[in-house]
Subunit: 407 residues, 4 copies
């Protein structure tokens, strides 16, 4: 039996940070429905060729748990998704058992320093967030250890799904692992996402950072991943408007059309939107969204703008309008505009499943460091490279084809 074949039979942990949020809730009900054969795996890229030939963990092999800083009941999150037409009421009923099993594995998360005062904040998260960083890390690692032992898991993938953190200035201690270790020893407070990333990589858990937060994107953390031989991927899942941008912008470049302006307005109404309504939290997200255009249209130097506005009534339905003003032959000025109306959670959840499967596979194969083939899923891929969606897709296909051949 090869190491790969083994994986299919193994139970694998999927640990969601932001466990009571809309993406996690969608993932929980959706993955369990797919596992029971009641739902098509629409939106799950790795369910199809050529990835289906890889030795990826099957849908029913996953055991879910997670951290969250709020105490919001899972059924309330589910109810909101039903009201918004994302989840069906019948899917919630059918997933009740899976939900109960999941709830049993939910643990208080780390409150990020600058955040305060949510109505339903878990007081244990406040306490945790106030501990010295080394103690926070130890607490997380203890949770994962207990989870793995209780469920007899071969490995657990940790996925960061929490809301956008307040932006921080770059710090020197993030450049080298040695310096970071020293800062942790000295008790210097760190962003919660960095502590999750450190704890996961240090304990050998593959890591996926689906948020715009710091996570393992700094040189020090990348060093740690290589040192511990752990694969990781990130950051900032590409689910909606930016996805369209990365598919459309190459068209203008390929046709030698000059983009004069690309103005993007995003509206959303879920908790993510509420958090992003605060400029301090918005910075990282907007930077990633804009960077995609800057690179893909490097020949044009367009006027660009990305706005994110909180519109409560929209709930999980991200609605975006982009206006693209461009110049063609003879200096003729033309335009393309599009409106995107998508459920953020229904778009994100299947990609998280893809990334968890790919991360578990990479771990099983002993691949370490940044999973370069996953740029397709991210607004700001850790390995850099092109933002052209088709080229990113080809890269992901290549990975599958090479890996399939060498089995």
């Amino acid at each position: 039996m090869t190491r790969d074949q083994g994986q299919a039979q193994e139970r694998t942990g999927l640990w969601l940070v932001g466990a009571r949020g809309a993406i996690s809730t969608s993932l929980l009900y959706g993955l369990s429905a797919v596992a029971r054969g009641e739902l098509e795996p629409t939106g799950i890229v790795t369910a199809r060729p050529p990835w289906d030939a890889l030795d990826l963990a099957p849908f029913d092999a996953w055991v879910l748990g997670g951290h969250d800083i709020c105490t919001r009941d899972l059924s309330r999150a589910a109810g909101e998704l039903v009201a918004m037409g994302v989840l069906g009421a019948d899917q919630v009923v059918a997933g009740a058992e899976a939900a109960a099993a999941y709830e049993a594995h939910l643990r208080p998360g780390l409150l990020d320093g600058p955040d305060v005062g949510m109505a339903d904040l878990d007081p244990r998260s406040s306490e945790l967030g106030a501990l010295p960083p080394r103690e926070q890390i130890a607490a997380l690692q203890a949770d994962w250890k207990a989870f793995g032992e209780a469920e007899g898991l071969k490995r657990t993938v940790v996925v960061l799904l929490a809301s956008t953190e307040a932006a921080r200035e770059a710090r020197e201690e993030w450049e080298r692992l040695e310096d970071l270790e020293a800062a942790l020893d000295a008790g210097t407070p760190q962003p919660a996402s960095l502590l999750y990333a450190y704890a996961a990589l240090d304990a050998g858990h593959p890591l996926v950072n689906f948020t715009p937060n710091l996570g393992a994107s700094t040189p020090a953390l990348r060093e740690l991943a290589l040192a511990r031989g752990v694969p990781h991927a990130g950051r900032d899942g590409k689910t909606g408007e930016t996805l369209v941008k990365s598919a459309l912008a190459p068209m203008f470049a390929q046709r030698a059309l000059r983009v004069l302006a690309w103005e993007g307005y995003n509206m959303l109404g879920n908790r993510d939107g509420e958090v992003l309504d605060d400029p301090a939290h918005r910075v990282a997200k907007l930077r990633n969204k804009d960077e995609v255009l800057r690179q893909l249209l490097s020949g044009s130097d367009p006027h660009t703008r990305v706005g994110i506005d909180f519109v409560p009534s929209l709930g999980d339905w991200k609605t975006a309008w982009d206006f693209i003003h461009f110049e063609g032959f003879l200096g003729a000025r033309m335009s393309l505009q599009f409106t995107w109306q998508g459920s953020d959670s229904a778009l994100a959840a299947p990609l998280v499943i893809d990334l968890a499967r790919l991360a578990a596979l990479a771990h099983a194969r002993g691949e370490a460091g940044v999973m370069e083939h996953t740029a397709f899923f991210f607004k700001a891929p850790l390995a850099g490279g092109t933002h052209d969606l088709s080229m990113q897709y080809a890269r992901l296909q290549d990975y599958a084809m090479q890996r399939s051949k060498t089995r």
Copy 2:
């Protein structure tokens, strides 16, 4: 001196069929402005790397002539484009000399059988169209011969730009060159575009079919191209809504999203739109537009529709609205809609320049038959293959890179 290097110094003919139309008019003023260094080559793909390293005919090497079935004054066509904001009044003034030289090389074209009764129809075109096919072919070839000799041209690229022809049922005589020759000998009437294609290939002129018309797309004509050793490309230039489709549709397939419906509504008001208002003329165009989606979304089996409506006030400004209804994870239904507002002529003209340059190069190099690397420019590429714009673009890049290396 290699054959390639020679081309740069040679004067090359560009013969436009549909010479008094909006695309030809835009091309005339635009190409001469680029040649004089007064206009950026925006929209001309081959003006940029890696194609600029090929030995393509420079912009000032081209001599223009053409066929048309109408007598409409070129200045009227130019005036309409100025009124519509496509051409600048100053560009028309600056191009007056080039326009006069062009007018001197315009000849009456072939009236296609089913067409009748345009207000400004050239009576000579009616007469020509009524001649036996062999005589029509001879007339075209005589025009090209006179053009080449008068201007001392090394070669002349023929480009089909005329309005959409009435659709015809497929005929057996189009399957084999031998049968077609017999039909021509027997005087069986043929679509005008087929006669142009036959005449051009038979006389050794590289051919570009930018229209949805038959041209050289049948087996018999392809046989002729190979027999005479002539390169050709086609068909149906991909300039607007279909261009966007070929960039966007792969995104849905790549993300495993199920497209439920893709409804496209096109409006335009130029002469092309007027012709397409007649269902008989619309058939071929709609088929090509729809086929692109059918292939790219083959996994989804979506409900699709493509409409083209004549809206006189829009003139050359093709305005299209596409609504894409799709399903993601959990069965959530989402949508993307876009509005495209572009000048058909300003979008088409630079691509015609690209194709003429590439066809002249292929001819200079002795390449014969379908120019497979040009699929990027067409709705219905003769060589088939993927409709994915990025992959078509990569193919065109490969051609340039290989050809550059082997020089």
Copy 3:
């Protein structure tokens, strides 16, 4: 006690023709929820000032019944609306009792002559549709009589909500009541909607024609309404794209802007859409939609188009895109485009409630003939007049204010 005050205490019948369709289903669950105080009367115009001062039948006074030609289970219609996010699953549960009561009052309707072959056609409707017209009329009247007696109703309003009928050429016998009576006596087949209208008016039931079908719009039927002293209103409820048109088009006229083109594309996927996919059924609907623009923009003579396309995946969600091209000062050409995404049933149902209330009131007051004040609700108001929404609204307000004063 005046006649008006009496109405509030009386039970009133609401008879829906097309009783198993999406509008009727929405009305059933919604009206019962409003009556139970569980739902806000959003979308019901007469729930607000100044109409709330009229002596309209309260929401809990209505008893529902209806005709349909299909046997589709009501719970299936409800299930589809839940799946489409129009009805909440909880609303269906809460309305179970009301639904059962309604089902008990459903009777087979008249199959319109040209219609055939629905999968779930009620065979009794085929039989009924094949009877001589006088017998069809008698059957309908018998149903209403039984309904009224069983429930002890003071009056029953009949509302036509069935799918669009195949269009018919105008007939001379529809011009005068005398001729129509003769044709009925002679057994000349008539459109189903005409027979419903005749039966209702003849038996003294107030009538609302919410469809584009003939109903009581012909002179002969109007004569009948006056002869029997019965009020009626129609036709073709104005719920979506046309509603927006009637609000927006006056703006262009008021500002002396010249509308060059107004192109409207409608897509819908419910049974109504399926029926309208057949050109014969589409004629009347398109005519009414276009007429609104023609009148409101009479100074401009714009190019107009109204399309209705069947897109199954949209279900009840009518999605329409309108493009308005207009000219302002200096001949500058500008545009306004809008996309409307609305649930046809959720938009129509409250207006049906409004019309039923107003028709019952008019009947209680002895008003006979066309209810001129209801033009606000229709694409093709029987009394003609302006299509300007604001002016129609003012007319409806005037009615309320005058009637309130004279009480």
Copy 4:
């Protein structure tokens, strides 16, 4: 001869503050073309019934002059409008004489205190702006006097068209004329628009404030208008997105639909847009735009937003996207979105002509104070009242009908 009939024969002055801007330039070329009979009066409301029956000054009776703070050549402003497709090159040629006559009447305007450092600022405007307010007022009045005498004008209407001023806190001295006079005597600096308004009203010139600036909107200035017996109208011309809002928002209210959110995003690229890119200048404009919705949707309490972003490539082409999220019966959530693409100047100029004609008429008739019938033209009508466009239009019609009758 009545006073009214006299007006038709009289030459009337039209003094534009912001004389070198895009609106003034459009007005100049357009009005002269209409006067010469070369251009249809499209967009001019008063050119049509019932206003054409009023004794309004004919188009060829107007003599133009104006103030500006910049020295930008009028031909450059015209050239930009030509490049943007608003003005035709031929219109500029045909209007050369009118332009020269206009240039002869242009005078340096008042620089508003907080504004500095434009590239092409007229140094005389800086000097003027630094004078004590009484001297500034005197300078303006002297310019108008000279203009009237040179051209033999019966009266001169002053129209404020300058860019949006920096917002100011309300001051007590603006509440009563007496206090304002004292402040002027004391040399307290005042917003430029207030000084223009004071100077015009004090000298008996009818005033139109087409900008969001203070102008004559304060109680003190209104007192002055009544004291001097001068009519005035304002403020903030309603030309684009807000115009559509005032036509559409009543529809939702009339149909008892609950608007949940109305998010409006405006983009423009002209000098007005550049000025509005500064938040201090943006305040007043956004407040007026938002107030319209707040009033018209008072029953709904929607989430609203109005953004204005500077997108240089758009030039004069204001492009706005509005997303309206609303709830109907059964709680169903629906949406309407629209994109407006209009030339700001071509929309504003004819309304300025309308207002000038109406102001001159009111003056001729001895009407004083706020011209209440002109609310139709403004985002923030001085007399308050409804923002419902149709009702404002009816008010303007009433004025014409009453005035026609009493002649």
